[in-house]
């Protein structure tokens, strides 16, 4: 395998792992639900996308050969992360989950 391709795969894997960890840290330490929703739904999707891209490049340079399953995973995650986050935010708004003072927007009081 070419050394340049190997560097690209390593960089994509590290990028994906770091993005996943940042999303999980955001989920663990942020103060209320609406700020916690930001971390995983954005960072984790990019993280898994980078890892799937690394997997595609890795298997394209192996005798196993590459395929389309990683593209399916990436497209599916990129398509389904915003609707699920939207539905969770609507459920939390309906349940009137308490929020910290800096979280703006109060749609039920309009």
């Amino acid at each position: 395998m070419n050394l340049f391709i190997e560097y690209i795969i390593a960089a994509l894997l590290l990028l994906g792992a770091v993005f996943t960890l940042v999303g999980a840290i955001g989920l663990a330490v942020l103060p209320d639900f609406f700020t916690r929703l930001h971390g995983p739904t954005k960072a984790t999707t990019v993280g898994v996308g980078a890892m799937a891209l690394a997997s595609m490049i890795w298997f394209a340079n192996q005798p196993v050969g590459t395929g389309f399953v990683e593209i399916l995973i990436m497209v599916f995650l990129l398509l389904t992360a915003p609707p699920s986050a939207n539905m969770m935010a609507k459920a939390a708004m309906h349940m009137e989950v308490p929020k910290v003072g800096n979280t703006r927007g109060d749609p039920w009081q309009q």
């Binding site: 795969i9 390593a10 999707t45 459920a91």
Partner: protein
């Protein structure tokens, strides 16, 4: 070099999964727990992809796709249940 980077990546993703489990246990309200389970499913996909690269096989990627589909459906069903009181009206 790929082997070392794979070990580091698996360690980082496992730490992320442990933080998600912390939020799943602590999480003061039900939407926090739904969000933690959704993120755990995405972390499981990342771990399966890393396992596939480690073992040099493409056999587990269909399992990752199935976990993606089931994670989305279960998240939508739980959010719908929390919002409306029933999944299918």
């Amino acid at each position: 070099m790929i082997a070392i980077v794979l070990k580091i990546s698996i360690a980082l993703v496992v730490i992320a999964a442990l933080l998600n489990v912390y939020r799943l246990i602590v999480g003061p309200h039900a939407p926090d727990r739904v969000l933690a389970i959704d993120t755990l499913a995405i972390n499981a996909i990342a771990l399966i992809i890393l396992l596939g690269i480690t073992l040099n096989t493409r056999m587990y990627l269909e399992a990752a796709l199935l976990i993606a589909v089931m994670g989305f459906v279960s998240t939508v069903a739980m959010a719908k249940y929390l919002k409306r009181g029933s999944v299918i009206e």
